[in-house]
């Protein structure tokens, strides 16, 4: 074989993500960013979390942020979790000299403005739900779910291997790079079919209107205030997923991955065929 053909064989460009997936991915990025930041704005209106049905049941909050004066008379921001207090001046409880839960650079709008925070939140909540339903419909109809996301028998067998590869930051090459690996599949399935539905359900559980749909359904989550707490926790779990996701994107080839999610084109590097 001439060398040029060999080089071509080692480097293939495939269509990694079809356009509907790319489009819905970026709509989701926008919606989730707005929802997180406007959600923190809403949290700041009452920067405490409770377990149970109400906030006034004689028990202290499980998480609370606020500001107070220390012995020297200086204002400090604090965060109290399960009775343990931490000095979080500058970030939580107090930032830029103002008493507030999360700092201005994390909330939307930046300053305290609950009414506008709610507008952003509920508009993009609809965007998230409509986009999510469109994604699920597409994933089923196009067999994206069955073909790309559901782990195969071989996937399940390779789970130990995949964990090891991830820990050593070793990434699939050649033929194996054409498909998601098993941990990737499980992470995506978990986020799409567990975390997002849970987040949306906890959000609905806070709506006094939807509470009347089937009286008592909110108690399944431990009550409205528990649902608020779980909504908050689930939001940060999603942030945790995004950190891992972006980390993996960076270490497994930032530009190649990014291009695959923008134009769809994904370059598969030289086949070492270490499996064969």
């Amino acid at each position: 074989m001439p060398p040029r053909d060999a080089a071509a064989a080692r480097e293939t460009v495939i269509l990694r993500h079809p356009w509907p997936v790319r489009l819905m991915h970026w709509i989701n990025v926008l919606a989730c960013t707005v929802l997180l930041m406007s959600g923190l704005q809403i949290f700041n209106a009452y920067p405490a979390l409770h377990w149970g049905k109400s906030s006034y049941d004689g028990r202290p909050p499980i998480l609370q942020m606020g500001a107070r004066q220390d012995a020297a008379g200086n204002p400090v921001g604090f965060t109290r979790i399960f009775g343990h207090e931490f000095d979080t001046t500058g970030v939580l409880g107090m930032s830029s000299g103002v008493e507030r839960g999360f700092p201005a650079w994390l909330t939307l709008p930046g300053h305290q403005w609950l009414a506008m925070g709610r507008r952003w939140h509920f508009f993009f909540a609809w965007v998230l739900v409509v986009n999510g339903l469109a994604y699920v419909a597409y994933a089923l109809a196009s067999r994206h779910l069955a073909r790309d996301l559901v782990p195969t028998r071989a996937d399940w067998r390779s789970i130990g291997q995949s964990v090891g590869d991830h820990l050593r930051l070793r990434h699939p090459r050649g033929e194996a790079a054409r498909h998601y690996n098993v941990l990737q599949k499980l992470a995506y399935l978990g986020v799409i079919f567990v975390l997002f539905p849970a987040l949306i359900l906890m959000g609905w559980a806070m709506s006094p209107g939807l509470n009347a749909l089937l009286p008592g359904w909110v108690d399944f989550f431990g009550g409205r205030q528990a649902a608020r707490t779980l909504h908050f926790v689930a939001a940060w779990l999603l942030v945790g997923f995004v950190f891992i996701h972006v980390f993996e994107v960076v270490v497994s080839g930032l530009w190649n991955n990014l291009r695959a999610m923008i134009s769809g084109r994904y370059r598969i590097a030289g086949e070492e065929r270490r499996d064969e």
Partner: protein, 256 residues
């Protein structure tokens, strides 16, 4: 070797900070553009329509047991109206209080507190959800608004019920007001409440009469109600959006 990577890092940090600030200030600026804020607010119509589709007039807010009662029912907003006329009423134990009910009705009339208490009553232990995020559980007793409306007979053109309150909210003397649609007005749990936790309604919680609209947020449940008007439009009242907080950007439909 160190210098370029340091300056590159500094450049990246600055670029990130600048980019972040641009996005943030962009979003803050967007919030101040009327048509964009209006676009965001359009979600309220979708929420209202879908909740009205899902919830019939019979769909009841959850009711709780005595064991769930909050030890102290928090007061929010006005806790004692700074208004001489209201203070005079309160000093006399609301003996001279009259609730005016009028607008688009066949038989406008007024009710004394005793007359409201003489109407068939309803007692309910419900959860009060504030727009800020907290909840408190209280036991309310009052006259269903439906009984009062049946007595005054709203005209066919009636679309909203507006509550005008005694408490001045700002230096300009604008008073609190709120409004609900006829679906909520005739809902079984919508009360003109005069008792909280088996005691006369305290001033901090809205004495002598506060509204309970259990399928919406706390700010819909006006305190210190002095007058009720049945209307066919809201845009000619005060700021035109149907409530004191609505005029300041909050949703009129607060079922979410």
């Amino acid at each position: 070797m160190n210098e370029p990577s340091d300056s590159r890092r500094r450049f990246l940090q600055r670029a990130l900070a600048a980019g972040g600030a641009l996005v943030l200030s962009g979003c803050d600026r967007l919030s101040r553009i009327e048509w964009f804020a209006g676009l965001l607010a359009s979600a309220e119509k979708l929420t209202y329509a879908s909740q009205r589709l899902l919830l019939t007039r019979r769909a009841m807010a959850q009711e709780f047991s005595e064991a769930d009662l909050s030890p102290f029912f928090r007061s929010n907003g006005t806790s004692n109206p700074r208004d001489p006329a209201y203070q005079a009423l309160a000093a006399a134990g609301f003996a001279d209080y009259r609730l005016e009910v009028g607008g688009l009705v066949a038989h406008p009339r007024s009710y004394s507190l005793a007359e409201l208490k003489a109407l068939p009553s309803r007692t309910q232990i419900t959860r009060h959800d504030c727009v800020e995020g907290w909840s408190a559980i209280g036991k309310w007793k009052g006259a269903p608004l439906a009984r009062v409306l049946e007595a005054v007979r709203p005209l066919p053109s009636a679309r909203y019920v507006v509550f005008f309150c005694a408490d001045p909210m700002n230096a300009r003397g604008q008073r609190y007001y709120e409004s609900i649609d006829m679906e909520d007005a005739f809902h079984a749990q919508t009360l003109l409440a005069y008792a909280l936790n088996d005691a006369p309604l305290p001033i901090r919680n809205g004495a002598p009469i506060r509204v309970r609209v259990e399928r919406q947020l706390g700010y819909k449940m006006a305190k210190y109600v002095m007058r009720i008007a049945v209307v066919d439009r809201l845009d000619d009242i005060e700021g035109g959006r149907g409530g004191y907080w609505e005029d300041r950007g909050y949703e009129w439909y607060a079922g979410i």
